[in-house]
Each structure stands twice: as C-alpha cells, then as structure tokens.
C-alpha cells in the first residue's frame, strides 16, 4: 500500500493512528485528577510534538543516513520561521504561502551552507555548520534587528500590509488560518471526567507530519537512500563505484534543511512568533539529542525522541512544590514533607536535572535509543508469546529497521 512494503505499511498505519488519536492518547487522566498534570493533550504541546517530529525526521535523513552530524540545523528552522512570518506580514495570514516559502527559503540557504560545509567531513563539518548557525543567531539577535525583530522577534501587527487579506474588522487581530479555518479553532469533547481537545492547527500540522514521515520512509527505501547509507558506510568504495558522493550528501542536506524549514514555518503558523533563540546552538543540539535519544537511523525513533524532550520541557517544568504537596497530601505530614523534599530538586525549576539524568541513563542502558528500548520490551513480549503464537507478532515488534 502507498508503494510501501508490508512492514512499512503497518508502521505507517501505526503512526497515522497515533497522530489521529493523539488528543485521546495523550490525555489519559481525568481532568480533575491529580495525575492530570501529566496530560499532554493540549493544542500547543501536540503541535510541538508533530512539528519537532518533522524537524527530527528531516535531521535523521541527513545524520541517520549519511552520518554527517550537522550541529547547525536550527538555523534552517529559524530561517524558515522568519520567512513564514514575513509572508504573513506582507501577503496573507493564510498559512499556505508562509509554509511554502519557508520550505523554499530554507532549502536555498541550506544549499549554500551545505555546499560549503560538505567540503569537509567529520567534526570539521560539524563545526562548520555550527559556525554558520551561530553567525545566523548572533546577527539576527543584533545587527539584523530591522529584519528579524532582534530580541523581541516578529509578530503580526495590526498595521502590516497583508496585501491579499481583506482589511481587519474593527477590534479584530490578525490570526493564522487556512482559507478561513483558524489554527486556534478548537472543539472540546467532554466524556465523563475526561476532556479532549480537538484542534484544527494540530491536525493540519499532523497531516504535514504524516506526509513528511511518509516521504522519509520512501527516501529510506529508495535507491537514493541506499546510496546515502553507502556514503555513511564506506565513502572510498562509493567513489570507486562510480558514484559522486558530494551531490548525494548535498541533496540529503538540502532535503533535511527543507524539513527544518517546514518545521519552522509550521511553528509560525501554529504560534505566530519568530525569534532568534530558535537558532542558538542549544536548539541545534536539541535536534541532535532528539535523534540520538530516539534512535539514529530508525524511521520513527526521532519522532519519539522529539516527543520525549518536548514532554519533559513542558510537563515536568510545570510541577512546582504546591503540586507536589497536593500529590502527597494523603500522607502524614512528616512523610509528605520528606517526599516533597526528595522530588523537588527534579521537577519544576529542576527539570533540566531530570533531563540530564535521563539522557545519561538512556544512552548508557539503551545504546540504540528509545527504539532499542521498545524493541527489547517487544522481544520479551514476543518470547513469551512465541510458544503459542508465532511470527505475526514478529513483524509488529520490529516496526522501524
């Protein structure tokens, strides 16, 4: 189906199901329960999951397939964002031109940066990309302020030209939309104690993420993808096989730059703001971490890694001492205070500590990232089942690679 083999089709269906039912899957706890703190099914975070999923999928096409570790990919995300916000300011609040232009502009810039950086390999390549991204960040934050908004970034303003849009009604503010359907449009579905949020912007981003994911499977399974893996495996042999590795790596670089541009454009479409921080080296580092955490070179790993990091950032950072006290309120006072004191350093303002510890644990115990963890669990599960049921579980257990 879709030109995919059986295993990939199954994986595609799993991802489609996950994306479509995310508002339900991510809100497993009733709204009023103490565990509701862990619910992630609200529009902003769901949008971020899929957008950073796209970013990581694209990064994985470069890093996972060719082995070239770019440390400046956030530059393309940022450039995509700026392109998108300018389209919204100049042309229309409809997200279509913004998204298309963000992909094109990021693609062009990545062509230039890739063409220069790919003259070197290994860590020299990494540092070249890092330097370009840091230059983009530093300039955008300071001397390019007239174009980028500098510290305060860019947002749509009431008096922007927006030449394709009808003038705003009195009192209205410009809002990102798709032919009138606003990104913020939301239905809330109350089922008993549960509250599920169905958001238009999320599904638009989700649809694009599915397209991006599908494209990435096709690239992985194409001769082109095979050549990229060949480049990673043995560049010397690639050359002695009559293949020119440079256009292959450059194409991979540009494709992943365009993925980053799409992610940047979507960030703006979902939340109309562009700022320089998203080009800082930590942002580039984040996508590297997402990919490694999830599992380099696997199809779905980077998406899981992106979800993991964004979840930590948005959920764990919001647990404060008041919340902890509420959780442990059922315990005697001494016990309650003790447990709060134990957990406090790891949540709220200490969320970085938890993140750092989890990075270490995952990479120590699961060298292949979260995908390997999933596989190990699946293996155990399979071994148990194997006695009565054979290979039907096997295909599902190894969804990616």
């Amino acid at each position: 189906m879709f030109g995919l083999n059986k295993k990939d089709t199954r994986l595609m269906w799993i991802v489609i199901t996950m994306v479509v039912f995310a508002p339900f899957i991510l809100n497993p706890f009733p709204e009023t329960s103490g565990m509701a703190q862990f619910n992630a099914g609200y529009p902003d975070l769901m949008q971020r999951f899929v957008i950073f999923g796209i970013f990581a999928i694209g990064f994985n096409i470069l890093f996972g397939l060719t082995g070239y570790l770019s440390f400046g990919h956030a530059a393309f995300l940022g450039i995509g964002s700026y392109a998108a916000i300018w389209m919204m300011k100049l042309l229309t609040m409809n997200v279509i031109p913004a998204i298309i232009v963000s992909i094109v502009v990021a693609g062009l810039i990545s062509l230039v940066i890739g063409w220069i950086s790919l003259r070197r390999s290994g860590i020299y390549f990494s540092i070249l990309t890092l330097c370009f991204a840091m230059m983009a960040y530093a300039l955008a934050y300071s001397v390019l302020t007239p174009i980028t908004g500098g510290e305060t970034g860019l947002q749509p303003k009431l008096n922007d030209p927006r030449i394709f849009d009808a003038p705003l009604a009195a009192g209205a503010s410009p809002k990102a939309n798709l032919f009138g359907l606003q990104m913020g449009a939301t239905y809330e579905l109350k089922l008993g104690g549960w509250l599920f949020v169905i958001n238009a912007g999320y599904y638009i981003a989700g649809l694009l993420m599915l397209a991006a994911f599908y494209l990435s499977i096709r690239i992985f399974r194409s001769p082109f993808g095979m050549m990229l893996r060949a480049v990673k495996s043995n560049q010397q042999r690639v050359n002695y096989t009559g293949l020119n590795s440079k256009p292959y790596t450059l194409a991979a670089f540009v494709i992943s730059g365009m993925y980053a541009g799409l992610a940047g454009g979507l960030l703006v479409a979902m939340d109309t703001q562009a700022g320089a921080e998203r080009m800082f080296w930590t942002a580039s580092g984040e996508v590297v971490l997402m990919t490694i955490l999830g599992g380099v070179g696997t199809l779905i790993g980077p998406v899981l890694g992106a979800g993991f990091i964004k979840y930590m950032e948005n959920i764990v950072s919001k647990i404060n001492s008041k919340v902890l006290h509420e959780w442990f309120a059922f315990l005697p006072d001494g016990m309650e205070d003790f447990l709060v004191a134990v957990f406090y350093p790891f949540v709220g303002k200490g969320w970085h500590l938890t993140l750092g510890l989890l990075f270490m644990m995952i990479v120590i115990f699961l060298p292949g990232g979260l995908m390997e963890g999933g596989q190990k669990i699946a293996d155990k599960f399979r071994n148990k089942k194997k006695n009565d049921k054979d290979d039907s579980a096997q295909a599902a257990a190894t969804p990616a690679e």
Binding site: G3, N5, R218, I219, R221, S222, P223, F224, G225, M226, M227, R229, A230, K232, S233, N234, Q236, R237, V238, N239, Y240, T241, G242, L243, N244, S245, P247, Y248, A251, I255
Partner: protein, 251 residues
Amino acid sequence: MGILEVQNVNKSFGGLKALQNVNLDIEEGTIHAIIGPNGAGKSTLLNCFVGKLVPDTGTVMFDGKSLLGIKPHEINQAGVSRVFQTPEIFSDLTVAENVLIPCFAKRDGAFTLNALARVTGETDVREKAEQMLIDVNMQDKKDMLASSLSRGDKRRLEMAMCLSQDPKLLLLDEPTAGMARADTNNTIELLAQIQERRHITMAVIEHDMHVVFSLAQKISVLAQGTVIAEDLPEKIKGHPKVQEAYLGGAH
C-alpha cells in the same frame, strides 16, 4: 594497442622517487600481473590509475582517453574497477545492497536523485544484482550484513560488486593477501572463470608467485620505481634482472 597505456610516468614524494619512467601496456582481454619486491612502487602505480594520485609527469591513457586529473568516480564510470587489498565493501549494508549499489551506479551514472523510486521496484537492476550473486555463489547470503561475512566471502563480494559494473579493466590489489591456501585457490579459480566467461582485462598486483603464474598471461616486474622486465610468464621466470631484484645484487 593496449587498453591501458602508461608512458613515462614519474612520481616522487618529497625527495623519494617512487616511480621513474614507468611504461606499461596492458592488452585488452588479458590478465596482466605486476610484481615486484616491497616498496617497488606497485601500489603507487595502481593509485595513479584510479585517480587517487596524480603522476608528476607522463601519461596514463585508458581506452584512448587520459585518466590524469580525473576524479575516482569518473574513472570508474569510464570502466575501471578496483579490488582492494583489504576488501572495501559497505559493511553496514546487506550483501544484496552491496551489489545493488554498483548496478545502480552502472545504470544511472554518478548521481541521480531517485529519492521516490523504490529499490524493490527497479526490476532490471534487481535481477542483474541477483544474477551476480548467483554467479559468485552467494545468493544464500544476500540478506546478511556484509560485516558479518568471512574474509573470503568479503573478497568474493567485493569482486561481485566490481564485476556487476561490467568493467573494461579490473584492477586487483593483492587479491589473495592473507588468505589460506584453499581460499587462494578458490580465488584463482574464480578469476580464471571470470576471465574465461567475460573476457575482462585485469591488472593484478600480487606477491604470491603461485597466483601470478597460475593466472597471468603477461607479467611486468617493478623494482625501485622502474619496470625492469615485461614479458610472458615463462620468460620472466628465468630473467636475470628479476632474480637480481628479488634476491638482491649479491650474486
């Protein structure tokens, strides 16, 4: 006229003259061995054929075209394939993929952005690769990772990769180095078969005289950067200069 003509090639590294006025003529359809003691310049010469090194002076003509200053992948596209001393294969890829890649390179050229095609959908290339694996007797191992093969199989795979491109000239850099006797004999047999079936020109660098004399139709002897003899195998055997080069000038 030979398929590969080397004339007056000189190459030095700093003060060291690695190649001096080397002349070589490899005839189409033959197996031509290049032998010589360690440090005679054999590998340097081979590297000049594939674009890894550029000679200081002289010409290297392949099939009527100069190979100098051309990138390795272009030389390969022109029809020169190379087998390395230690097999250079795609260890992270499966055996089948290892052979598919040169087949694609042969069909599509140095670069094609076929990102939306499917490997499994390219029937012609796939069939060719499968046939190649059958030819080298590795079809049962096609789903194994190349890194998990035995050394002999890796060599076999590398040859399959080179042969699947139907090269006009196959360069072999010590194809039996470090092999056990049985493996060596298998390799000799394989090369002989290939030669018989496909009439591919081969240039073999080799230490092992058993291999050289079982295969070669012509032999060039290289010593201290110059060709001291070039002749038929039986004539090389008793050549005084060759004996001198190998055994030293003591007698």
